[in-house]
C-alpha cells in the first residue's frame, strides 16, 4: 500500500483555498513579519548606529546616483581593464619565451632523438603542445589579474549596485533586473553567467537572460579585442593617444555588447517571450572590506585555474585539428586552403575574409585560440615567411610582427573593426552551448541562443562593410 488515499485531503485543500480567498499569501507573509518584529522587539537594542550607515549610504548615493552611477561604472571597468592590459604584458612575454622559445625547440630535439615519425611529432608538438602553450602564455596573466580584481569588487559589494543602476534599463527591455548580475558574471565567463541565471525566478525572464548572456564579452574574447585595438585603432591616432584610443575602443565594444543585450531582451520579450516583468527586492549589502589575500587566493584557485584548465582541454584538440587540416591534402590543396578559398567570397561581403571565418569555425571550442588560428592560417594562405611551418600555431614576439602578418594577409582598418564586432557577435563557445542545453533542457532554445548572435554578427558586419565602402 504505497499510495495513500489522499484524494479527500486534496479536495479539502481546494475547497478551503476557495474559502480563504486570494489574499492568503499576503496575509500569511504579513503575520510572519509581525511575528518577526515582535521577537526582535524583545531581544535587540540598537545604539546610535548612524555613523557606519551614514558612510555606506554616502557611498551608495554617489555609486547609484543618476549622474555619477554610469560614468563611475565605466570608469571602474576602464581601470580594471587598464590594469589587466598593462600588467599582463610582462608575464605574458616571459611565459611565451619559456614555453615557446625554450621548451618547444627542446621538445622537437627530444622527439627527433627518439626517432618520432614526422607526422606524430608535428601532430603532438606543433599541434597540441603549441596550442596549449599559447593559451597558457596569453590567457593566464590577464586572468590572474582580471579575476582577482573582479572578485575584490564583488567582495566589496559593488555588483548589487551595478544591478541597481541597470535595473530600470532591464525592466524597460522586458527583462529581470537580476540579469545585471548574470551579465556581470558573463564578463568573466559566459558559461558561469548562464549558470548564475538560476537566481531569476520567472522562467520567461530566465530564458531571456540565458539567450542574451553571450553579449557579455567573455574572458576568452578580451585578449582578441585588446590586441586588435592596439594594432589597428591605436595606429589611427597620434601615438600619445594610442593607448587611450585602444582602451576606449575595447570599452566601446563591451558597451555595444550591453546595448545588444538590451536590444535582444527587448525584442524577445515583445515577440516569442511575451509576459509581465516581475518585481523583486534587491538588498544592497553593506560594503565590506574584502579579506585581501584570501580573496586573491580563492579567485586564483576557483576561477583562474578552472577557466584555464578548460581552455587547455579545448585548445589541445583544436591545435590538433588545425595541424591536420593544414597537412591533409585533397588534390593539390590542403583542406584548410580549400575552406579559406570557398569562404573568401562570403567573408568579403562581411568585411572579413575566409581565414577569419574558418578560424571561428575551428575555434568553436574556445574563443581564446581565435587569434593564433588566424595568424597561422594567414601565413599559410599568403605564403609569406614567418611562423614555424605548415599548420603550426605560434605566438609572435611583438605586436608589430603580428601587425605585419595581418597586413600582409590583406587586413585593413575595416577588417579589424569587423573582426572586433564579430568577436562580440558570434556563437557562444561549445562549453557555453552545452551549459545552455543543461540549464534549459531544450534543444530549441539552445539553438536559438547559439544562432541568434551569429546572425546578428553577419547583419552588423555586413552593414558596416557596405557603409564603410560607400563612404570610403
Amino acid at each position: 500500500m504505497q499510495e495513500k488515499n489522499v484524494a479527500h485531503i486534496i479536495a479539502l485543500s481546494k475547497e478551503l483555498r476557495w474559502q480563504i480567498g486570494d489574499d492568503f499569501h499576503d496575509s500569511l507573509a504579513e503575520s510572519i513579519y509581525a511575528d518577526a518584529s515582535k521577537i526582535v522587539e524583545g531581544s535587540v537594542t540598537k545604539g546610535d548606529q548612524k555613523s557606519s550607515f551614514r558612510i555606506d549610504s554616502k557611498i551608495d548615493k554617489i555609486v547609484t546616483s543618476k549622474i555619477w552611477g554610469f560614468p563611475l561604472m565605466l570608469f571602474i571597468l576602464g581601470v580594471v581593464l587598464w590594469l589587466t592590459i598593462i600588467g599582463a604584458n610582462y608575464p605574458s612575454g616571459m611565459l611565451a619565451q619559456l614555453l615557446l622559445d625554450t621548451c618547444h625547440p627542446l621538445l622537437k630535439e627530444g622527439a627527433s632523438a627518439i626517432g618520432l615519425p614526422w607526422w606524430l611529432d608535428g601532430f603532438l608538438i606543433d599541434g597540441v603542445y603549441l596550442a596549449v602553450a599559447w593559451v597558457i602564455a596569453v590567457m593566464l596573466p590577464p586572468m590572474a589579474i582580471f579575476f582577482p580584481l573582479f572578485t575584490l569588487l564583488e567582495d566589496f559589494g559593488y555588483l548589487p549596485r551595478v544591478a541597481f543602476n541597470m535595473d530600470h534599463l532591464f525592466k524597460k527591455s522586458g527583462a529581470h533586473g537580476k540579469q545585471a548580475l548574470t551579465m556581470s558574471m558573463g564578463f568573466g565567463c559566459n558559461a558561469a553567467g548562464v549558470v548564475a541565471t538560476r537566481i531569476i525566478d520567472s522562467p520567461r525572464e530566465r530564458l531571456i537572460a540565458i539567450i542574451t548572456n553571450n553579449f557579455s564579452l567573455c574572458n576568452g574574447r578580451w585578449p582578441t579585442q585588446i590586441l586588435l585595438a592596439t594594432i589597428f585603432i591605436g595606429a589611427v591616432v597620434p601615438s600619445t593617444y594610442s593607448s587611450l584610443a585602444s582602451l576606449s575602443a575595447v570599452i566601446g565594444i563591451a558597451v555595444l555588447g550591453i546595448f545588444f543585450m538590451f536590444f535582444f531582451s527587448w525584442a524577445l520579450s515583445r515577440t516569442v517571450l511575451k509576459g509581465e516583468v516581475s518585481t523583486f527586492n534587491l538588498e544592497l549589502p553593506p560594503y565590506r572590506p574584502p579579506v585581501f589575500w584570501k580573496t586573491i587566493y580563492t579567485s586564483l584557485i576557483d576561477r583562474t585555474l578552472i577557466v584555464l584548465w578548460r581552455a587547455i582541454i579545448f585548445a589541445a584538440p583544436a591545435g590538433a585539428v588545425i595541424w591536420l587540416i593544414s597537412n591533409i591534402y585533397i588534390g593539390d590543396e590542403s583542406i584548410a586552403l580549400w575552406a579559406i578559398h570557398s569562404l573568401d567570397g562570403f567573408g568579403f561581403l562581411l568585411g572579413l575574409n575566409g581565414v577569419v571565418l574558418l578560424a571561428y569555425i575551428v575555434a568553436i571550442p574556445a574563443n581564446e585560440i581565435v587569434i593564433p588560428t588566424i595568424l597561422m592560417l594567414t601565413v599559410m594562405a599568403t605564403g609569406i615567411p614567418g611562423g614555424e611551418g605548415v599548420g603550426v600555431m605560434f605566438e609572435l614576439d611583438s605586436v608589430t610582427a603580428t601587425a605585419d602578418i595581418l597586413k600582409a594577409g590583406g587586413w585593413t582598418l575595416l577588417t579589424a573593426v569587423n573582426v572586433m564586432l564579430f568577436s562580440l557577435l558570434h556563437n557562444p563557445c561549445s562549453t557555453t552551448i552545452y551549459t545552455i542545453y543543461k540549464e534549459t533542457n531544450s534543444a530549441k532554445w539552445t539553438i536559438v541562443a547559439s544562432v541568434l548572435p551569429v546572425v546578428a554578427g553577419f547583419v552588423i558586419t555586413f552593414l558596416v562593410a557596405q557603409i564603410w565602402r560607400i563612404l570610403g
Binding site: K4, L16, L28, A29, Q49
Partner: protein, 254 residues
Amino acid sequence: MEKQPHSACDTCSHFNADGLKKLGVQIADFDFVVALAGNPNTGKSTVFNALTGLRQHTGNWPGKTVTRAEGAFEYDKQKYKLIDLPGTYSLLSTSEDEEVARNFILFGKPTVTVIVVDASRLERNLNLALQILEITDNAVLCLNLMDEANRNQIEIDTRALSRDLGIPVVATSARHKEGIPELIQTISELANNKIQCTPRKIKNIPQNISKAVQELSASIEKEYPEISNSRWIALRLLEGDTQIVEALKTGTFI
C-alpha cells in the same frame, strides 16, 4: 600563526578541539546531515568553509550560491555531512533556488538545520527562520556577522532570542572564525538529542486562515499520524504546491 586560538573556546576544556577534523569533500559514511539555510548574503558559504575547511568562493552579493554545495567534518568521532543551501528570502515562492532550499529541508530531512542570519538585519532575516521552524524541529540559529552588528552598535540578547524562538542561538563572526567552535558543539548536541527544541510556530495568522490550516492539518495527521510538520504541509497545500500533492500521495516526507 596557526597555533593561535581563534577564540577562548579553542583552549577551553569543554571544547574538544582535538575531536574536530575538517573533512573537505570526503562525504562518505556520514552519521548526520546538517543543512545550512539563510537569507542571501549572510555568510552561509563562509560558515560552510569554516566548518569543512573547504574554500568555496564567497562573494558579497545576494544569490551567489545557486546550487547546493556539500562538504563534511568530523567531530567527536561522528561524521557530519554539510549541505550549503542557496540563500533565499523566504520559502514561499516558486523560484528554483527557493524550491531547492524548501524541498531539501522538507524531503532531505537534515538532522540539524543551521539557520544563518545577519545580526544587523535580524528582523528581515527572522522571516525565513520562522518559516524553516515550521518545517523542522531540530535547528540552531547562527547569529552571523556579529562583528558588523557590534560596529553598528546593535546589541542582541541571545538568551531572550533563544527563548522566543525555542531553539539554541549561537553568535558568530565566521569571517574571523569566531563562534565556530560553539556552533559545532551546539550542532553535535542537537544531533545527539542532548538539546531539545520547542520551535516557535507562526502566530498572528488571521482567523479564517488558521481555521483552514487547522482543519487541513487535522485531516493530514489522520493519514500520517507520525509527522510533526502537518501545519506546513497544510500551508503548502493551500498554496497549491504540486510537489507537496505528489509527496502526499507517496508519503516521501516521513
